[in-house]
Amino acid sequence: MSAGELATPFRQRAGGAMKDAFLQEALTIATTKFIGLRREAFEGFPEGEALRDQARAIKEATLQQLDRHLETLIGNVERLGGHVHYAATPAEARSIIVDIARRTGAKMAVKSKSMATEEIHLNEALKEAGITPVETDLGEYIIQLAHERPSHIIAPAIHKTKGQVAELFSRELKRPAEADPEALTRIARGELREKFLQAELGITGANFAVADTGTVVLVTNEGNGRMVTSLPRVHVAVIGVEKVVPSLTDLMVFLAILAKSATGQKLSVYTSLIQGPRRAGEFEGPEEFHLVLLDGGRIAQIGGPLREALSCLRCGACLNVCPVYRQIGGHAYGYTYPGPIGILLTAMLEGAPAVKDLAHASTLCGACVDACPVRIDIPRMLIDLRREVDEKRIAPWTERVAFKLLARLLQHPPLYRFAARAGRVLQRPFASDGRISRLPLFFGEWTRTRDLPLVAPRTFQERWASDKDLRT
């Protein structure tokens, strides 16, 4: 039963997610496991805290010289025979990539997991242009077959049980599939191996782009990232401008903390440093390398209130610890990026009105900052977003009036005291057993599941004012 006509679409999606028993179990297991793995990894890693500070400082320093570092990166990529493209908007990025795909005559593109390509909705554009995109990361492959979007930044299919995956494989691949992760993995390996070997085009994102050397860095576990960047003739990497780091020395600082934050591993299985197309002497590797630099709202935040969010390493640690994400999962957020950082990224990419409800999808508990490898102060920026939503009058007028009234009350003690006396009177019909278990209208949002204490017969200040034995 959704709660009332005033419920927002987000609240309805959240409610639906909490009634999905499979999802609830999957979320509890996955997030609890990730939290434990991350904790263990950092417990055995005393240098970790200093490295996190260092990583944050590097990101900030890079932003302060971003144009210079990008110039260096571009120069190096071109020197190595690669091509650089500039996409101001998702539409432009799609158009650039589809153009490249058309020119290569590709019928099929194999993709390694890339949130940037999810963000720009690349797959639909490729399909429309007659090119079949094939997701090769197991989790992405699963959701592609299911026609869904990722529900977690690093484990896209975490909302699915093995039974659901088996059923999906049986249906879509027209072959029997056992509900066993290893058996399902073997099926995916077999299905995708052929695609890797046949595809003319490989599309990836990148975790980092090293300016000094023109290197793009892929951090993966399955091997599909290596396949996609070694076997097809053309490689396209799409990255947000904030992915650039100045040098290889800087890169090592991030590598030391990224996998630990995401999955508790010291390093992911494959970290690939790719410097342009294949070189003389190599018979494997792409002949063409294209780097697409994506703005999509990031550049405006260099000088904007969400600047700190540009440091995000896309590790997903904040999702795993967020009390809200843990209850509702990724799809309920309704946008490409879920969880705490997802709310900020959505504001960055879609504007403040898009997050008028999501900005409040947080208890401001701060668990995300604790877990973030680069210590992004997400709660602070959520409060700033709430402020923007209020000041731009995007919040409903009823809410704004209520808060202005509250503000008035809190600045005028006589009004405050009057409100207390009024509360005492108004609560009488609802009071029983020393508490309130039922309230009408909006206040019922609390009492549906929780009791409320009564406004005290005498407030503390009233007692202090009148009880002499209290004062001495």
Partner: protein, 247 residues
């Protein structure tokens, strides 16, 4: 279409708007990477047994299988034992110049079907496709190792002539042969070495990719249950040659 000038111009415009509120500094780069890398090498030469022990621990903890032999002549026996365990025969290998030793004959003598990768760029698409098919069919892939990182149990392989990427990627079993000269202790030291390679072009090979390999391919995408050998190898073996590989 947005031009480079427009793109960077927009960035510069935004950069003017804020000087940045937080502590900011890039990592301190080595001033003389080649010299520092040499120092690291010298110091490690003295404590390689401890480094090897640490490497073995980490490598095994990520699911790698470690072997130690006295000399490079003992390597083929280990490889053929692994092949027998897999009931496998087809092996694809880096070129002997890249491996540092010519193991082909000894491996063939033990009944393995050895395909050594060429170290000159083959002419023509047909030849490239033939080589790719071999790698895709092979049961075992034999490579050398450029760096073995003790901190994380990682094998670092640089691509290039005679050392294609697919050897350590397509076959379900990857066997890597190394000696004490590859050992490094930490990611920080790796950073110095990478800077040195980049700075004076003294990398082990001139290919476009440097792959860090930490154990067999894995995923936990289904119910966070671990499954190995998703797309890359299901098994990774590291054979340490105590007396050193090459001459």
């Amino acid at each position: 279409m947005t031009t480079k000038a427009e793109f960077l111009g927009r960035i510069r415009e935004q950069m003017q708007r804020t000087p940045g509120r937080f502590a900011a500094s890039s990592a301190k780069r080595p001033e003389h990477p080649a010299a520092e890398a040499e120092t690291i090498r010298r110091e490690l030469a003295e404590r390689w047994p401890e480094t090897l022990d640490a490497f073995r621990r980490e490598f095994e903890s990520v699911g790698g299988v470690f072997h130690k032999v006295a000399s490079v002549d003992a390597v083929p026996a280990v490889v053929s034992r692994i092949a027998r365990e897999h009931e496998a025969r087809e092996l694809v290998a880096w070129h002997s110049a890249a491996l540092g030793a010519d193991l082909g004959p000894a491996l063939a003598a033990r009944g393995l079907d050895v395909h050594q990768m060429p170290d000159a760029e083959p002419i023509g698409v047909a030849e490239r496709e033939r080589l790719r098919a071999i790698a895709a069919r092979a049961d075992l892939g034999l490579t050398g190792v450029d760096l073995a990182i003790a901190e994380t149990g990682t094998l670092v392989l640089v691509s290039g002539a005679g050392r294609p990427r697919s050897t350590s990627l397509l076959p379900p079993c990857h066997i890597a042969v190394f000696d004490r000269t590859a050992l490094v202790e930490s990611l920080r030291q790796v950073g110095v070495v990478l800077e040195a390679w980049h700075g004076d072009g003294a990398a082990p090979a001139a290919g476009a990719v440097i792959n860090f390999i930490t154990g067999p391919s894995r995923t936990a995408d289904i119910e966070l249950t671990l499954a190995l050998g998703v797309h890359g190898p299901k098994e990774v073996h590291a054979i340490f040659v105590e007396q050193g590989i090459g001459g």
